[in-house]
């Protein structure tokens, strides 16, 4: 769908969602607005919307485009609603666990034997964050983080606005510990955006440094010139030049000083069948993991090389699991650069404790298992 088409679809859906009656007539959209919409969007009871400036003159149609007042109002109203939701996922396949195994690298050739210990009703919490980076420019991105309160893992998921597999479900007396899950999501956002934020920081500070150097060079040389020309000269002049220098420095800071903020947009609880599984490796090691039917993410495995938690997984004879990327590079000396690490079990969580255990039950030499030290 074109960008203009997507905008039109959003506007029509959002207005309908607010209770307005919509009728599309050629290039214009006609809206009959209830009182609440009239008040919130500052519009009359009946009005037209145009998506091209040339059409906005006809019937006094309100222009909808980036930067238009109407769109700003509509986005503000829309994002003030729908900030939490609870939904349920019922898998269509009876044997969804087997399907997850083969997708994740646990086929019969892997030599890993999974044993389903139990299938329970699990919960995931999805946190939507808007990341905003500002200096002389503004960069924004949207991040959706899934948190499993059970095992304490958190990872980024791709936003799927059309997730029609979910059905509304609002259990009575559902009061999850959002604070703890939020903290995990918070850390996952930091991990997820670290590279982006660092790049932005380097760019902005580089520009600031260049600007500050130029300002100092100019004013210091100017001051030196004034002093040299007239050593007994007016102190007022020197002070004026210094004041101007300070003003320019303040302007440079105002322009290039980087700022990074994330704001929580929404929370969603997803109820989905979750399997507790024991994996038995060829070498005799075992690991207890969780996997849910909705995200299908294997939670509880840690790559022995990079300590990442992203599948798919690879298993060599008698070795512990490796993520696909480490297996492909066979690089054992250091974790690959820029490798995703979000979702790594945190110190003290159940997942951290149960990551991979030797057959004798002692904790394996895993950094993840021993705490949050996740390599350079």
């Amino acid at each position: 769908m074109s960008e203009a088409g997507a905008l039109r679809t959003f506007v029509v859906e959002a207005l309908a969602g607010l209770g307005a009656t919509i009728s599309e007539g050629g290039s214009l959209v006609w809206v009959r607005a209830p009182d609440s919409v009239q008040r919130d969007l500052e519009v009359p009871a009946n009005f037209a919307l145009a998506f091209e400036p040339e059409q906005s003159g006809a019937f006094d149609a309100e222009l909808v485009a980036p930067g238009s007042y109407f769109l700003e109002r509509l986005v503000a109203v829309t994002t003030a609603r729908g900030r939490w939701d609870a939904s349920r996922f019922e898998p269509s396949e009876a044997d969804w666990v087997s399907a997850v195994w083969s997708d994740s690298g646990f086929g019969s050739e892997s030599g890993v034997r999974p044993r389903v210990l139990a299938i329970e009703d699990g919960i995931l919490l999805l946190f939507g964050f808007r990341l905003t980076l500002i200096s002389d420019e503004k960069r924004e991105s949207f991040h959706l983080i899934a948190v499993s309160p059970v095992d304490g893992s958190a990872w980024a998921v791709l936003p799927d606005p059309e997730d029609s597999r979910l059905v509304p479900d609002a259990p009575i007396d559902f009061h999850p510990d959002l604070e703890a899950a939020y903290r995990l999501a918070n850390e996952a956002v930091r991990d997820e955006t670290r590279a982006e934020v660092d790049r932005f920081r380097s760019r902005s500070l580089g520009l600031l440094e260049e600007e500050v150097r130029r300002i100092f060079a100019y004013f210091d040389n100017t001051l030196a010139g004034i002093r040299e020309a007239d050593p007994e000269g007016s102190q007022d002049l020197l002070r004026a030049v210094m004041a101007e220098r300070d003003r320019r420095l303040a302007e440079a800071v105002e322009r290039f000083d980087p700022k990074a903020t994330a704001s929580l947009c929404s929370v969603r609880a997803v109820f989905a069948p979750t399997a507790r599984v024991r994996l038995e490796f060829q070498g005799g090691a075992i690991a207890d993991i969780h996997v849910d039917a909705w995200s299908r993410r294997i939670r509880g495995l840690v790559c022995e090389i990079c300590h990442g938690t992203e599948g798919p997984w690879s298993f060599e004879a008698k070795s512990e699991p490796r993520c696909g990327r480490c297996a492909a590079t066979r690089e054992e000396s250091a974790p690959p650069r820029g490798h995703p690490r979000s979702g790594t079990p945190r110190r003290g969580t159940k997942a951290g404790r149960s990551a991979v255990r030797s057959p004798r039950g002692s904790t394996a030499r895993s950094r993840a298992a021993s705490g949050g030290d996740r390599g350079p």
Partner: protein, 588 residues
């Protein structure tokens, strides 16, 4: 050094910490305590956020919301350079007529959409404040207010102020004590002198981004260029002493040296689109349709003129401003048509501005005007249109003249699209569409399609001549603009022995105004020694009682205009010599 009380810019180079919004706690406390708005609302929440995300300046977001702004590559390229390479501080030094105002508006709008500019100040010459306000409102939907009182500095986040007002107390202090996200200075060559109030005022403003607009950064000597650039990015051209040593060749500081290196430094802070590089406009051809008024029209014209002169000089004291304006209107209307002047004569015949004798005289004039059924100028226009086989724009200043012409032309079988200030926006759109689709005549008052694309026509008829030459230029600019590919014809209809004949003498014969590029005239008039509106200068001459006095005054004004044009040409050449290809080597 004393920096403002905030985090130091280069503090230990620690990594930028991602701060989480305090409002998050509020959401966490409320979520799942009350019923949700449903899954659709949850999805639309995410959609709303995603649809409003911005990602740097990867593309321009403003275009879809602009009205009546054609999309030109050189303007888009310029805006990208200001946003991406100059980080919001640059000199827009396009040659006249290439759309510096549009470029500045685009930069402003892009910042505003991203929430990076919330407080903006536009500083202009006093005469241009209204024009800026209109352009920002109509084309960019940016509700700027023109400064009227010192309280406006607090109340108006988007403000237009005349430089002359803003730089003086109490405005100066008020302007400088507030932070501005963006400051735009139009006619920025007025900042050429570092010691001037203008320069000191702008330097003292606290601003994040700044745009300086001027077609002629160098008016006289190289110092001016240094002062302008230093205001924007001090050090870009070294210190003043080093600048003189390196880039100025002559003692009088007019001749540059190491020009290539200098231009290289200027490219970092200046965009200069030139006609030959950005585009070339086709030439203009000027045609004169001079007419001799009929005996009745001549009689009426001379009587109205005599009344104006008598009223102008008969006042016991200084003529009130309103009376002076009324007389000017009367004289301008009789230059347009007898139909235009008749209604004003009727009104004035009942006005307390004039005594009983004058009112009787005015009523007599009204009767004479009403008795004239047709105008010679219209007959001449009809003959001209018979010889023309293409669409034509006909401009008049007055609605009554427009209605008269509409009747005459429609009777001749022309399809006329009438456009005037009394039409609703929808009717205006319809008039433009009718002209584009089938009508052969676009008959318009001064409101004639400002900002609309009428370049599919190429002939402009000035049925009457506004005394303000910039108005004439705006009319021509409706078709002689970016996008016009054919030679443009300007046809002036005027009567002998009238004010309009004086205008033709001055503007056409003396300075060849009709062949100038849009924007140049403004700069020429700005060089006139007499710092008064051109209309007033015309009226001053016309009301002189003796013909010889009028001829002498007209000759002096003509000489003054010729000097102003020469001065403009010199400045233009100087800028080309110094700045030359400042933009040519810029990769796009």
């Amino acid at each position: 050094m004393s920096l403002p009380p905030r985090e130091p810019p280069l503090s230990a180079d620690a990594s930028l910490s991602l701060r989480f919004d305090d409002a998050d706690r509020n959401l966490l406390a409320r979520a799942f305590r009350t019923p949700s708005d449903g899954p659709l609302a949850w999805r639309l929440n995410g959609e709303g956020h995603r649809i409003s995300l911005v990602d740097g300046f990867d593309r321009l977001l403003a275009w879809p919301s602009l009205r009546g702004v054609a999309r030109y590559e050189h303007q888009e390229r310029t805006v990208f350079r200001i946003l991406r390479e100059m980080h919001g501080r640059g000199i827009l030094a396009d040659e006249v007529g290439l759309g510096k105002t549009i470029e500045a508006g685009l930069v402003l709008k892009e910042y505003a959409i991203r929430g990076l500019v919330r407080r903006a100040l536009i500083l202009t010459p006093a005469a241009l404040t209204g024009q800026w306000r209109e352009e920002m409102a109509e084309k960019f939907s940016l509700p700027f207010a023109v400064l009227h009182s010192v309280r406006d500095w607090d109340r108006r986040p988007l403000l237009i102020a005349s430089m002359d007002t803003a730089k003086r107390e109490p405005h100066r202090r008020a302007a400088q004590s507030r932070p501005w996200d963006l400051v735009v200075v139009d006619e920025a060559h007025r900042l050429k002198n570092r010691l001037s109030l203008n320069w000191q005022f702008v330097a003292g403003l606290s601003k994040k981004y700044m745009l300086l607009l001027t077609a002629t950064p160098v008016q006289n000597d190289m110092d001016e260029l240094f002062n302008l650039v230093s205001l924007l990015t001090p050090g870009q051209l070294h210190t003043y002493d080093r600048f003189l040593e390196r880039y100025v060749a002559s003692a009088d500081r007019r001749v540059p040296t190491h020009v290539s290196e200098l231009r290289g430094r200027l490219r970092d802070v200046m965009v200069r689109n030139r006609r030959g590089i950005a585009f070339t406009l086709p030439p203009r051809r000027v045609h004169s349709l001079a007419v001799r008024l009929s005996a009745a029209e001549r009689h009426l014209y001379d009587d109205v003129t005599q009344f104006v002169r008598d009223a102008y000089w008969s006042s016991s004291g200084r003529l009130p401003w309103t009376a002076r304006l009324t007389l000017t209107v009367l004289q301008r209307e009789i230059g347009s048509s007898t139909f235009a002047v008749a209604e004003t004569l009727r009104r004035l015949a009942q006005s307390p501005l004039f005594g009983p004798d004058d009112r009787d005289r005015l009523d007599g004039l009204r009767q004479d005007a009403v008795a004239i059924a047709s105008n010679v100028k219209a007959s001449r226009l009809r003959t001209f249109l018979e010889s023309l086989n293409e669409k034509v724009l006909i401009f008049t200043q007055y609605r009554r003249t427009l209605e008269y012409l509409r009747g005459v032309l429609e009777a001749d079988g022309h399809r006329v699209a009438a456009y005037h200030g009394g039409l609703s926006p929808v009717a205006k759109d319809e008039a433009v569409r009718t002209f584009q689709a089938g009508a052969d005549v676009f008959l318009s008052t001064e409101a004639g399609g400002e900002g609309r694309n009428l370049q599919f026509a190429r002939t402009v008829v000035n049925y009457d001549l506004p005394w303000n030459p910039l108005r004439i230029e705006q009319r021509i600019g409706r078709v002689h603009r970016l996008g016009q590919e054919r030679e443009v014809h300007v046809v002036n209809v005027w009567a002998e022995d009238t004010v309009e004949a004086y205008l033709i003498e001055l503007l056409d014969r003396k300075i060849h105004m009709f062949e100038l590029v849009v924007g140049e005239l403004d700069l020429i008039l700005g060089n006139l020694e007499a710092r008064r509106p051109f209309e007033d200068l015309m009226m001053d001459i016309w009301v002189l009682r003796q013909a010889e006095e009028r001829r002498t005054a007209l000759r002096r004004l003509g000489e003054s205009l010729v000097r102003a044009r020469g001065q403009y040409e010199q400045v233009k050449e100087r800028n080309d010599a110094v700045l030359g290809d400042v933009s040519e080597a810029v990769p796009t």
